[in-house]
């Protein structure tokens, strides 16, 4: 009994940490409609700044906290809103998820450049180490203060958001920016305020828990992933429920340590450390379960999404030519590169394949997945296990195994949409990374892989294998192009555009979703298998979450609806390794080592691209394609081909009726734009 009490107290102390971390997240979502993946990263930067002020420059902690919480953090949030988040209006869900990830990545890459990891930094518990006995457990004064602050923050936020004018305005902006505008309020000011507040809360969370978590870039950033489960219990909008969620999470983690039985011997002998793995994966397991249980808004239709993304219909002949060029260039260049650059080039194809897996899933089908690298990892493991002695069965196994897991994961995720689906895939990815790929029975550190052999065709030389990879990419790419023009491709797009209409036409989305997840996982699995075959080693180090981020960023920045986008993205990623090598060693510019500086700049590139999606959601490949098409059209002279038009921008509400009298269509358009449907009008009518 005393043990139960002890672990309960421990769990509640943990919970306060999660509560503080999650509440800022909920505030941002409630007031901006954007799930800020970079929330933890903002907290991390603030914490490092705090260290710099207090330990590095000997400032008093209260002053440092004041400067950061009232000055720097809100200012940063304001800038982020102004420069980045504003541009996310009228973009697809995918873009709204990817852009904050870009910001996350930027901060993650920037921090180690400023505060080098070679030094281990500590922040002492600000409010003191005095110990208090709480039912048999020692709690520091600092921890108690954190609990108190968590409660104060919650109450304060509730007051702000529901009782003050600005707060109500902040909440209104989410429902309808246009409506807010028509009402005379300034949505710009409100959203800036919510981002400033969100940043401040992130900073507060970071500073308060830094003593327990340590001053490590990833630790602080990823802590918030543990807190996602708490936020989802609160449906991303309810602070009281978030606190409940934090409580459940903290208790679950604590009880698991105290009471979960050890791995049974028969599993341990086979190299499966189940208990240990599960214990570390509890936050994401809970996240997954909660996502499945929390009720979601049913399909009700949302009008034609006038998003700024355009899915250009690929031209068959152009695609064939493109692929032929890719293979041709590879054959030629591969003879001229050094072995090391050849391998880097090959990695580009592997990444491109993994990014290609996002095209049917995200580009066509509008489903978001952060788990592609986990499927790639499964592919790598499969080829290591079944591809011994060069058997091509290994590649087949990779595709099948990945597809099977993809379908299994899709099953519970079928009813999830948008951010919830993204979080579910994130939970899966983290689970694979922490609990599965670390098992002795799975990779056992890493597994050697032999190159596949197709009858007499051996691919032992790197050059031969890279050409093989090029062919494989182009074959799959062609398949994806054909997919777009096929029956299944149309269904995918329909599913993305209007799930409600699909249902009313008799289309079962279940099968479609399952199939596209399986297909996407299969492609990613193949990518992972080829990467492992290239390196002749299946190593889980390639397949963790932090790698998934730039892949997602570059895939979308390259253009997630385009096969060329994935090629663009894949090679950009590979070039990060190759290009700095072209800069002569020892070159100096303004006292900085040119090669190192360029490398560091490249580190930031995926982030910059991800963030720039806010202004150009179609991605780089699309832009380039447009330019090329324009040039070709001019060269050809006549425009014989039926070029798809660009999506018209939504009508600016404020100019209606200015240049001509209002017509019926205008009213209809206003209805659509304002998102007014019968429920709203009905409710409004009754409340009078």
């Amino acid at each position: 009994m005393t043990e139960l009490v002890e672990f309960t107290v421990l769990g509640l102390v943990l919970a306060s940490v999660y509560a503080v971390a999650a509440s800022g997240l909920v505030v941002t979502y409630t007031t901006s409609g954007i799930f800020n993946f970079a929330h933890g990263a903002i907290g991390m930067m603030s914490t490092f700044l705090f260290w710099q002020f207090t330990v590095g420059w000997d400032m008093h902690w209260a002053l440092a906290m004041f400067i950061i919480l009232v000055g720097i953090a809100p200012a940063f949030g304001w800038i982020v809103d102004r420069v980045i988040m504003r541009g996310l209006a009228n973009t697809s869900e995918v873009t709204r998820i990817v852009v904050p990830i870009g910001l996350l990545f930027a901060l993650l890459s920037l921090a180690p450049l400023i505060w080098r990891p070679t030094e281990n930094r500590l922040v002492p518990p600000i409010f003191g180490r005095q110990l208090y006995d709480v039912l048999g457990i020692n709690v520091t004064r600092h921890q108690l203060v954190v609990v108190a602050i968590a409660v104060v923050v919650a109450l304060g936020l509730r007051f702000l958001l529901f009782k003050t004018r600005s707060g109500v305005a902040m909440r209104a902006v989410v429902d309808s920016r246009e409506l807010t505008q028509l009402n005379g309020a300034s949505p710009g000011r409100s959203s800036a305020l919510s981002w400033a507040l969100g940043s401040s809360l992130a900073a507060l969370a970071g500073i308060l828990i830094a003593d327990q978590v340590g001053l490590e870039v990833l630790a602080l950033t990823l802590l918030v992933i543990n807190a996602y489960a708490a936020a989802v219990v609160g449906r991303l909008t309810s602070l009281p429920l978030t606190f409940l969620g934090a409580g459940i999470l903290g208790l679950a983690q604590s009880y698991a340590v105290g009471f979960m039985p050890d791995t049974p011997a028969w599993l341990a002998e086979r190299g499966i450390e189940a208990s240990g793995a599960l214990r570390t994966a509890i936050p994401v397991v809970m996240l997954f379960i909660v996502l499945l249980l929390v009720p979601h808004a049913p399909l009700r239709g949302g009008g034609i999404q006038r998003s700024r993304e355009a899915a250009v219909r690929p031209d068959l002949r152009g695609s064939l030519i493109g692929f032929a060029v890719v293979i041709g260039v590879t054959v030629v260049l591969s003879g001229m590169l050094t072995e090391a650059n050849l391998v880097a080039w090959g990695k580009g194809f592997a990444f491109a394949l993994i990014m290609l897996s996002l095209v049917p899933l995200t580009g066509y089908g509008g489903q978001i997945s952060l788990a592609q690298l986990s499927f790639a990892g499964i592919g790598a493991w499969a080829v290591a296990t079944w591809g011994t002695n060069g058997s091509p069965l290994g590649l087949v196994a990779a595709i099948v195994a990945a597809a099977a897991v993809g379908a299994v994961i899709a099953l519970p995720a079928l009813r999830l949409r948008g951010i919830y689906l993204a979080l579910a895939t994130l939970a899966f990815a983290v689970f694979m990374e922490r609990a599965v790929f670390t098992q002795q029975a799975v990779f056992g550190g890493s597994k050697p892989v032999s190159r596949p052999q197709f009858g007499p065709l051996e691919l032992t030389s790197n050059r031969a294998f890279v050409i093989f990879m090029a062919v494989a990419f182009c074959a799959v790419g062609m398949g994806v192009v054909l997919l777009r023009r096929s029956r299944f491709g149309r269904r995918l797009q329909a599913m993305k555009d209007s799930p409600a209409a699909c249902a009313t036409l008799g289309m079962s989305l279940t099968t479609t979703k399952l199939m596209v997840f399986a297909l996407s996982a299969a492609i990613a699995g193949l990518g992972g298998a080829l990467l492992a075959s290239l390196q002749r080693l299946a190593s889980p180090a390639n397949f963790d979450l932090l790698h998934a981020l730039p892949i997602l960023l570059l895939a979308v920045a390259g253009g997630v609806a385009l096969v060329s986008g994935s090629l663009f993205g894949g090679f950009m990623l590979a070039s990060f390794a190759i290009v700095p090598g072209w800069i002569p060693e020892g070159w100096e510019i303004a006292g900085f080592n040119a090669r190192n500086s360029f490398s560091n700049l490249l580190l930031l590139l995926p982030a910059v691209l991800g963030v720039s999606l806010a202004h150009n959601p179609n991605g780089a490949a699309h832009e380039i394609g447009q330019q090329v098409r324009g040039v070709l059209a001019r060269v050809r002279g006549a425009t014989g081909e039926d070029e798809p038009d660009m999506v018209l921008p939504p009508r600016n509400v404020e100019t209606l009726g200015v240049d001509r009298p209002l017509r019926d269509e205008d009213i209809a358009a206003v209805d659509t734009l304002l998102g007014l449907d019968e429920e709203v009008i009905g409710a409004a009518a009754r409340s009078r």
Partner: protein, 243 residues
């Protein structure tokens, strides 16, 4: 026996009853109207009939079978089609592809080949001139026709048309009304929700009137026009006889 029956259906949203004890029916081969002031619950009732919303009370019957518990796509496969008040076209596909997607949905019964059904619908609704344009760059009038055509390729037996004339000018509205009448004459049952009262009076053989979620009158156009309760509900809106 009516093809579609709604019996004593109630729907609750949050604190209030959006629909209360609504009963109505619609026959095959005729156009039945459903009118009422803004916010009366018409679209909600549609959502119940096609399965996007669950009622707290009541039953929905289609061709004699109780379909209250079935899912939306299952109802669609029985022959219940629907268009939306806020257009739900597949914006990134062309008009033709919109129709193709709908026509390609597999059914148990054997039907005419995809191409035949698509061509028929294109013909019926006059989509030829803009068949290859993307669905999100056509005019509202054209979009309404496409949504109708898309529903038609599934060869439904009953069509729920939710404000299909919204955003259309008078000539487009009239054209649409003629189209619906022809479809009904060919055997399709139509349940029509419309704000344009003159259209409803012209095209419908029976009308139900909804106000604050309750059915307050049912009958022929003439009967409904004369009903005092209807006039009161529409206070201030002149109910003109069709010309």
């Amino acid at each position: 026996m009516p093809l579609l029956e709604v019996a004593d259906v109630s729907v609750r949203f949050g604190g209030h009853m959006a629909v209360e004890a609504a009963t109505l029916s619609a026959d095959a081969g005729s156009v039945t109207g459903l009118i009422g002031p803004n916010g009366a619950g018409k679209t909600t009732l549609f959502n119940v009939i096609c399965g996007l919303v669950s009622p707290v009370h009541g039953r929905v019957r289609f061709d004699g079978d109780d379909i209250t518990g079935t899912s939306t796509h299952q109802r669609a496969r029985r022959g219940l089609a629907r268009t939306f008040q806020r257009l739900e076209l597949f914006g990134s596909l062309t008009v033709l592809e919109n129709l193709q997607v709908a026509a390609e949905i597999p059914r148990r019964e054997r039907r005419a080949p995809v191409a035949t059904r698509v061509d028929a619908a294109v013909e019926q609704c006059g989509l030829g001139p803009f068949l290859h344009r993307r669905a999100d760059v056509i005019t509202t009038g054209q979009a309404r026709l496409v949504e109708l055509a898309r529903a038609l390729v599934t060869e439904p037996r009953m069509l729920l048309a939710d404000e299909p004339a919204s955003g259309l000018d008078s000539s487009e509205t009239e054209h649409f009304g003629d189209l619906l009448a022809r479809l009904a004459a060919d055997g399709l049952g139509v349940l029509l929700v419309e704000h344009d009262v003159s259209l409803v009076m012209k095209v419908c053989s029976r009308i139900s009137v909804l106000d604050y979620g309750k059915v307050i009158a049912t009958g022929t156009p003439a009967e409904v026009r004369a009903d005092q309760r209807v006039v009161q509900a529409y206070l201030g809106v002149p109910v003109e006889a069709p010309t």
